[in-house]
Each structure stands twice: as structure tokens, then as C-alpha cells.
Symmetry: C2
Subunit: 335 residues, 2 copies
């Protein structure tokens, strides 16, 4: 491995000069700079990450803590992770991948060892046990998701309350008066995942306001559970003319079951999905949807982190305004 000292010798300058060329923290004459840069090129020098971290007490690494579960919103998680990695690189940071199963211990380990300068946490629960540690830690952290208490925390998330409201509003405008919400799996509500509860809050609030009847049914993924759920909904509320789906793995089953029962979309029933655009576009019917802006969430999270590491940026909750795209699955209420 080539060291900074070898570069210095090759360029005929001192080690500190090479360091200042690299960091730009002191002015360097053009001639010297060029000579050093040439030596770096010729020798194929890469600064040693460990030495740099030790001397500067900055690792230039951001830790990303992902959920271990692979049973839900996989495409969203993946897109966020890739956006985080890409944005981080653009700012000169690398990304350390942690899984959620280490829990609070991972937070302690990473912040304590200086492995990373900051953390991004996904899949935050309303009363997450990692939060006290983050509040105490002097290292910046950003949550993707919204816990119950956000004091002293920085969060980035889609505004799920507004998302729920927007869905009801759209359907109400089309004349729908009886809406069913096919939600996430029961386990998601039991874990008190923030986004699921907030969506429900937004849906119920707007439904109450506009005098629309709303039926909420958690639903496991797959054809069997969806079919059963749908049967119960249609039994209890035969007048249902619109469905809102949040669980992306229930989308295709729902469309399939509706087709089986001879209910045309959007003539007989409208379907509105809360899902990534890609899912909405690849479904068997092009879905009217509120998109989950995974890329933007990942990117914003990194930008906040970078700002905080640079000493700028307060703790704050940054909610992304939902956007509804009308496609082929929603239309006027029948009759």
C-alpha cells in the first residue's frame, strides 16, 4: 500500500503539504498542487481510511439500519437503501449496512467505536427502544419514519396522515360514499408501526369530515387472505364502491379477486393504492395511486445527515407532501 509519506517523497514535499493538498484546508501554490496530484496519480495512492479516521475522528461513514424482515415493502426498502448509498457517495460518505436484529446494541457499538459518524434508521416503531440512545448520543441520526415522540429527533417521512386524507378526498370527489381500506397485515398494527396508524388516522379524519363511510380491514399478503377479507367486506357492506390498498402485496390479489367476482375496475369499483409508482404501473390495471417516494426519502435523509455533520440543520420533522396520480383504476361512483 502506498502511503502519504511516499507520495510526499515522490513529489519532493513534506507529508503535511500532501495532506493539505488533499483536504484543501490551507492554500497551496499551483505548482506544488499539480506536482503532488501527479504523484498521487502515478503511485495510485489512496488515503488509509483507518489512519484518517483516527487522526480526524471522522470516519466518513454513515450507518444505515435496515429491518431484518423481508416480508413487507421490500421494493421500498431496497429503493431507499440504494438512494441512501448513492446520495452518500455523492457527498463523500460510505454506507455501513446494519440489520435491525442487533437492536440498541448496534447503536451503542457503532457510535461507541466511531465506525460511523451518523446513523439512518428505517422501520421505526412508535415507541422504539433505540430512541433514548439516539437522543443521548452526540452523533447525528435521522429516522426514516415517525415515532410517537419526535422531540430531539430528526425524521423524514411521507406525510401519511395527509396521504390518507388525500385518498378519501379523491374518492369522495368521484362520488364514493362507502369506502373500504384494505390495510397492512395485522402484525404491522400490533407492532404499532407509525406509518400504518397515521394513514388510518388521515383516512378516518377525512372520512368523518366528508361524511364518508370507511371500513378498515387489516389483511395478510397473498390470495387466500385477500379473498377472505374481500368476501367479508362485501358481505358487511355490499354498497362498497371503492377500495384503498396500502399493503402492496395485497394489490394484485385484490384485483384478481374483484375480476373473479365480476366487478369491473373502475366501472363497478374504484381501486386506489398507496404504493411505489413501479407497483402501480406494473399491476394488471394501471393504478391510481399515492406514490411512496422511496428515493426521495433516502436522499433527504442523507442530505439532513450531511447538513448536521457540517454543523448546519436543526432537529426537525420533514414530511413529504403526498401526490396522487390518477390512472386507470379510479372513476365516478356507479349509479
Amino acid at each position: 500500500m502506498v502511503t502519504l509519506a511516499e507520495v510526499a517523497r515522490h513529489a519532493g514535499v513534506s507529508a503535511s503539504t500532501v495532506s493539505y493538498v488533499l483536504s484543501g484546508k490551507r492554500s497551496i501554490s499551483t505548482g506544488t498542487r499539480e506536482r503532488v496530484e501527479r504523484s498521487i496519480q502515478q503511485l495510485g495512492y489512496h488515503p488509509n481510511a483507518g489512519a484518517r479516521a483516527l487522526a480526524s475522528s471522522k470516519s466518513n461513514v454513515i450507518a444505515l439500519m435496515m429491518p431484518l424482515r423481508t416480508d413487507m415493502y421490500v421494493p421500498v426498502m431496497m429503493e431507499i437503501a440504494i438512494a441512501v448509498a448513492t446520495t452518500a457517495r455523492a457527498h463523500g460518505y460510505d454506507v455501513l449496512l446494519l440489520t435491525g436484529d442487533e437492536g440498541p446494541a448496534a447503536v451503542r457499538r457503532v457510535t461507541g467505536s466511531g465506525l460511523a459518524d451518523a446513523m439512518i434508521l428505517m422501520d421505526v416503531e412508535l415507541d422504539d427502544e433505540r430512541l433514548p440512545l439516539l437522543r443521548d448520543s452526540e452523533r447525528p441520526a435521522v429516522l426514516i419514519g415517525l415515532p410517537a415522540d419526535t422531540t430531539e429527533l430528526t425524521c423524514v417521512d411521507l406525510d401519511f396522515v395527509a396521504t390518507g386524507a388525500l385518498c378519501v378526498e379523491h374518492l369522495a370527489e368521484l362520488g364514493h360514499r362507502d369506502i373500504a381500506f384494505i390495510g397492512e397485515a395485522p402484525a404491522v398494527y400490533e407492532r404499532h408501526t407509525g406509518f400504518a396508524e397515521r394513514t388510518l388516522e388521515g383516512l378516518r379524519g377525512k372520512a368523518g369530515e366528508l361524511g364518508v363511510r370507511l371500513l378498515h380491514r387489516p389483511c395478510d399478503a397473498g390470495y387466500g387472505p385477500t379473498s377472505a377479507t374481500l368476501a367479508r367486506v362485501l358481505d358487511e357492506r355490499p354498497g362498497t364502491t371503492a377500495f384503498i390498498v396500502q399493503n402492496e402485496s395485497a394489490v394484485e390479489p385484490l384485483l384478481g379477486v374483484l375480476r373473479q367476482r365480476g366487478r369491473a375496475v373502475p366501472e363497478d369499483v374504484s381501486v386506489l393504492a398507496i404504493c411505489p409508482d413501479q407497483v402501480a404501473l406494473q399491476a394488471s390495471v394501471r393504478l391510481t395511486s399515492v406514490s411512496i417516494p422511496a428515493e426521495e426519502m433516502g436522499r433527504r435523509a442523507v442530505e439532513r445527515i450531511v447538513a448536521k455533520l457540517a454543523g448546519r440543520g436543526e432537529d426537525e420533522v420533514s414530511l413529504i407532501t403526498p401526490e396522487l396520480t390518477v390512472r386507470a383504476s379510479s372513476g365516478n361512483a356507479p349509479g
Copy 2:
């Protein structure tokens, strides 16, 4: 931050003794060890990662290079990534997440800077431009996937040739004589992705051997392309009684289109998928499938890496034997 020196002072021993307690590289008396461990606990000490890396020239980090694309096999990628992270932690390593878009430069940067001790590469193309660098590098690397030339490389992959053969064999046994293979998107073949070509090789080889007719059609994801592809297949080969699908986002569209055309599965046509078990189980028909053992691939890759870092283990190609699970989508050929 608590340092090793503070732990030493607290425990009344020298710094090197604390270090040896931590590493176990020299014998320590029980009394001293316990005293040091108590001090570590009480002070909440975590060794500084940078200092450790600098002194030992080992970072205890494994880099994982993932494809940037989010348009294909997302669940597989995700499951591999999580298996890598989990297995790595179990061996005391952390995982650095790199995206493929930095290309060979990322390999140079990571190996040159000592950011990681080893690399795992996913989404390897047959003639990948990162391979020469890996062969030259003194740092261990493992590929998940199989390039054209595997000399001096360690690879882990599903045996896709055997997978293709297994699929044809199963269908031939059921009496099918006309099989259509709905492959990956055309772009995948154009990039010469190894697994796609190898699957085809296995399918064709076994089909030739058993005298079965095989039609190969690349197919983009979504209902439109799948529907069009299927129409062409049924036009050209009306006698087709079985489909093999590799592109997991074509699975549900294929089933939907078959249903629309009144072809019952498995009475009229058999469908066999090459996909993760989860996809096979959540489809509208429980699919007979050859599973893609994502978890095992990730785990094996890390185990190889760890072995190589410990000085054990040769360069070698490790192919996982495919397993076919019969479910509800395959049956005897009609007539």
C-alpha cells in the same frame, strides 16, 4: 469517548494487558481478566475502529457491491444482502454497502484505502470489467454469480445449468413435449448476465437430450409485454402445454393472461417457476418451482470470505444444487 488507556488505568493494568484481554492473543490470569472486563463494562468502552484498523491493518469490514438497478429480482437481492449482513455480524464483521454504479473505481477505492478487508460482488456479468482488478488484488473477493472465466476467482451461485435441466426433466416426466420458456427481459440477455445464459444452456441441453421442443422468449415485466409474448407463443406453437418462467415479475401476469384465455393451470397447461419460495407461495396459484436460495448464497459467500481471511480456503466455484418443489401448478400433460 472512553479509550483503552482509561480502561487500563481504571483496572490498574497496562494498556497492552487490556489489549490482550480483548484479543486473547496472550494468556491472562483469571483475576486480571475479570478486573479488566469489569472496567470495560463500567466505563462502557468500545474499541476505536479506526485505531484498531490502523494498528492491525484489518478493518473487520466486508464490502458488498450491489446492483443499482431496482427493476429486477429485488427480493432476491434484498434477501442476499440481509443474509450477508447477518452472517457477517455473526463472524465479527460489518458490511459496507456499495452500489454497482461506481464500477471498478469502487474496487480500487475500497481495496486501496483499507476500508474493507474483502469484497462480495453481486450481479456479475460474464465478462465483468471488475474481474481483472479482483484477480490482481491481494484482498479476498467472492462473486455471487458466475462470470465466463473463473480462474483465480471464488464464486458462489445456484447451478443454473442444472436448474434448467431439472425444469425440463420434471415437465418431460409429466409427458410434456412442447415447452415454452418465458425468460428474463431482453436487456438481461444483452448484458450477458451469466445466470440467464446458463439457465438457457441447461434447458436446451436437457430438451435436446429428451427430445422435447423448447421455445425461448425473453419477456419484459408487466401485463402488456407478457400478454403479447404469450399470444405469440400460442400462435407459433399452439401445442404448448407447459411454461417455465424465470422473470419473477412475469409470473403473475402469465397466470392472469392464462386465466383470461381460459387455460386452466395445471389441467390445460403446467407452469413452473424459477423464483424464491416466497414468490411461489404468494402467487395466485401455488407454483411448482425451483427455488432461488438467496439466503444460502449470501451466507455461503460470507463463509468463504471469512475462511479466506483466516488463510483457509482455496479459490473455487461453489455451485448450489437446485431443488424442485412440486406444488399446484404442474401436472400431467393433457390428452
